[in-house]
Symmetry: C2
């Protein structure tokens, strides 16, 4: 496991949440976000992050000063935005080198084209390794690719709380010696928050001659990532979760510098073309990560995403990580004290070093409990079949939110238990 | 040629532009747009359209009320937006049936996946027909596909002003009897504004057993389109030109209803999945055009695009077309009177029925003249090697704009001629 030198507290269930908030060094940063309803307990910042105030101001400025005012001349600076914001994210939060990250398209489209690029680079290898618990869009894209390109998916059926592990990946590689083209996993699992061992798994894949493609959607802005240090080949992710980029904000892709010119983008569009506005015959990609752009980037979404990314960069990923550990430790302490006695089980790793910034709690009636929580002003996410996912986005979630949210869940589940008992 | 019953005027070079503006039934609609610099002559609304006032207001509302206020709950209505706005565009401006158009991704990505879907539907046919003058991103994508899928591109080298014609397409089809999988062209050429005969070419392609894929980027919102009536298979386009959707606004795709379930989307992402939020195993596309969505749609860009599309729908495409003809007829009259005598030639069809809503004028020093025009407060577009493209977006361009813009061009070219003469 990649070792972390994070100083983080582990509050107990009887800690005073107001006192924890008072001692929180990141509490100040909440002022950079918009909270129109102070009573709402929002535990879904890992699905759609709250807007930074500057994102809202920036959108107004882009619309009036740039779109209306500069019109087509805005492209003089918009053209460099996918790479510039990519560098802010890549060097600030992903541990990438400059010119290795671009903001563009959706996670799905980026995942598709990087997976194809990897398969094309290993034409004689027929196997792709991923896990059954991986995020749906990654699985669906791979199924389509496997069918269209006559490849085989080796599915890891890992532990639903702790998987996939290094041993899972090693075993999968050993089942297909010399035949694995690509290993692709989520860095942090969307349901359990389990952190996959990016360093060890990347090394294993490389030893087997395979490329790796990491989906960072649930880790970027939540935990430290060191793409360059671990020699990661390819990565994608979204900016609307911990990066607070807005609904459907543009995604990003990472391609290690030395691979940018040797791999090939299957969707070769005009934004990747050298001398784009000469509009000449014959596609010839421009150097660097810009050669991997496709169509016209959405400037409104990109501007909002830049402001979201900037808050996380300013906060510093180590401080974000320390608070994420403290919030999830506190949530687990409250789970053990309040929820475990009323038929809940924990759906996330207990080891903080193996857990991202959300916590899933499981109970058979999770679906109806989620609906009741939302009606009561507490917003988590339901994840089939039995998980209530409590997203504790460190920049915008307070310890008081955690206590109120889990307290409300305890009360609703207790009431459900009482109704069950009365029906018997 | 698809016949049009448009009543349009053809102002002469000595018409009074102020009087033409006073008689313009669409002049009123200019009030729905933002004009921060009343002195700017903007002749590039076919590259990036001006913002509707409501788009700016809507963006502020989406940011504060929806993103900040509703947070993740916004998806209750955002989920249906790609299809709902697609229907507004499809039934309002493209002549499509309901549930045949969705707003999503970029033109490049949509073109790529529809082209693949078409090739996959004709696995035994090796040829794709397009033209050398087609928009670059379409050509670059096709080159990549031809290489990756071992297909051959039959390039039409059409007339630079009038091409490609029905005869060009017929000849290309006859060179490869029984072997053409796909015919793909732009409906309106981005440089010359020549309108390709969508009806006749679609019919010819079908007779040859091929599918058609039209790029509507320079026709949607400028001229009437009747996709359903002409039995068009596939189409794509952008919303940031005549549809005033904003910089990098999301694109759209059209798939004729009966093809939606028989063709296959190569990028199968979670937004196309039935019961998306069950996140189950195995991709199974949802019915209708929604099954062709891929990743998470950008909601900020989509909201702005909806407001842009709505203005064009409210104006009515026949009125837009009539004004587009009047503006371009006037521009050509001014070209003939003011520019032709000083070494310009016309780069657009003289027949209004064969011309979209922009006019290209050609001269050897077009590149430097364009730079000088922009410095003088007149914004056209340069298109290599020798075209100055005057975009006359009917909703936001006045006859006064046309007279001032072409007047400025005449003065700058006259000054250049004088400098040339002095150097000799």
């Amino acid at each position: 496991m990649d070792t972390e030198a994070v100083e983080a507290s582990a509050p107990s269930a009887d800690a005073d949440p107001a006192a924890l908030d008072a001692a929180d060094p990141l509490a100040e940063l909440r002022r950079r976000f918009v909270f129109p309803d102070p009573d709402l307990v929002y535990l879904d910042g890992n699905s759609l992050g709250r807007p930074p105030l500057r994102a809202i101001e920036r959108l107004a400025r882009v619309a009036t000063e740039e779109w209306a005012g500069e019109l087509i001349r805005g492209w003089d600076h918009w053209l460099s935005a996918p790479g510039a914001v990519g560098d802010l994210l890549g060097t600030g939060l992903l541990g990438a080198r400059p010119d290795e990250v671009a903001i563009c398209d959706s996670t799905t489209v980026n995942f598709y084209r990087l997976a194809i690029a990897a398969l094309d680079a290993r034409p004689d290898r027929r196997v792709v390794i991923t896990d059954r618990a991986n995020f749906p869009t990654d699985r669906y894209v791979l199924e389509g690719l496997a069918r269209d390109r006559r490849r085989e998916i080796e599915w890891i059926d890992g532990d639903p709380v702790d998987g996939p592990t290094v041993n899972d990946v090693r075993a999968a590689l050993q089942r297909h010696p010399g035949h694995v083209a690509l290993v692709t996993l989520s860095h942090v699992n969307y349901r359990s928050a389990a952190i996959a061992d990016l360093s060890a798994i990347t090394r294993l894949a490389h030893e087997a001659g395979a490329l790796v493609l990491w989906d960072l959607s649930h880790s970027a802005g939540a935990i430290p990532i060191r793409l360059a240090a671990h020699d990661v080949d390819l990565a994608v992710g979204c900016t609307y979760k911990y990066l607070n980029g807005g609904p459907g904000a543009p995604a990003y892709l990472y391609i290690r510098g030395d691979l940018q010119g040797t791999l090939r983008n299957p969707i070769q569009g005009w934004f990747g073309q050298r001398e784009q506005f000469e509009m000449g015959q014959g596609f010839e990609p421009t150097a660097g990560i810009a050669g991997w752009l496709t169509g016209t980037p959405g400037i409104l979404g990109l501007a909002a995403a830049e402001e979201g990314i900037r808050v996380a960069v300013d906060a510093g990923i180590d401080r974000i990580r320390a608070k994420g550990i403290a919030l999830t430790e506190y949530a687990i302490a409250l789970h053990d004290a309040w929820l475990a006695p009323i038929r809940f089980t924990l759906g996330s790793p207990r080891d903080a070093a193996r857990r991202g910034a959300h916590v899933s709690v499981r109970r058979a009636d999770a679906r109806s409990l989620t609906t009741e929580m939302i009606a009561a002003g507490v917003v988590p996410d339901f994840r089939a079949p039995d998980s209530i996912r409590l997203g504790l986005s460190p920049l915008t979630t307070s310890f008081t939110d955690v206590a109120r949210g889990i307290g409300a869940l305890r009360d609703l589940a207790t009431a459900a238990n009482r109704r069950d008992a009365a029906r018997r």
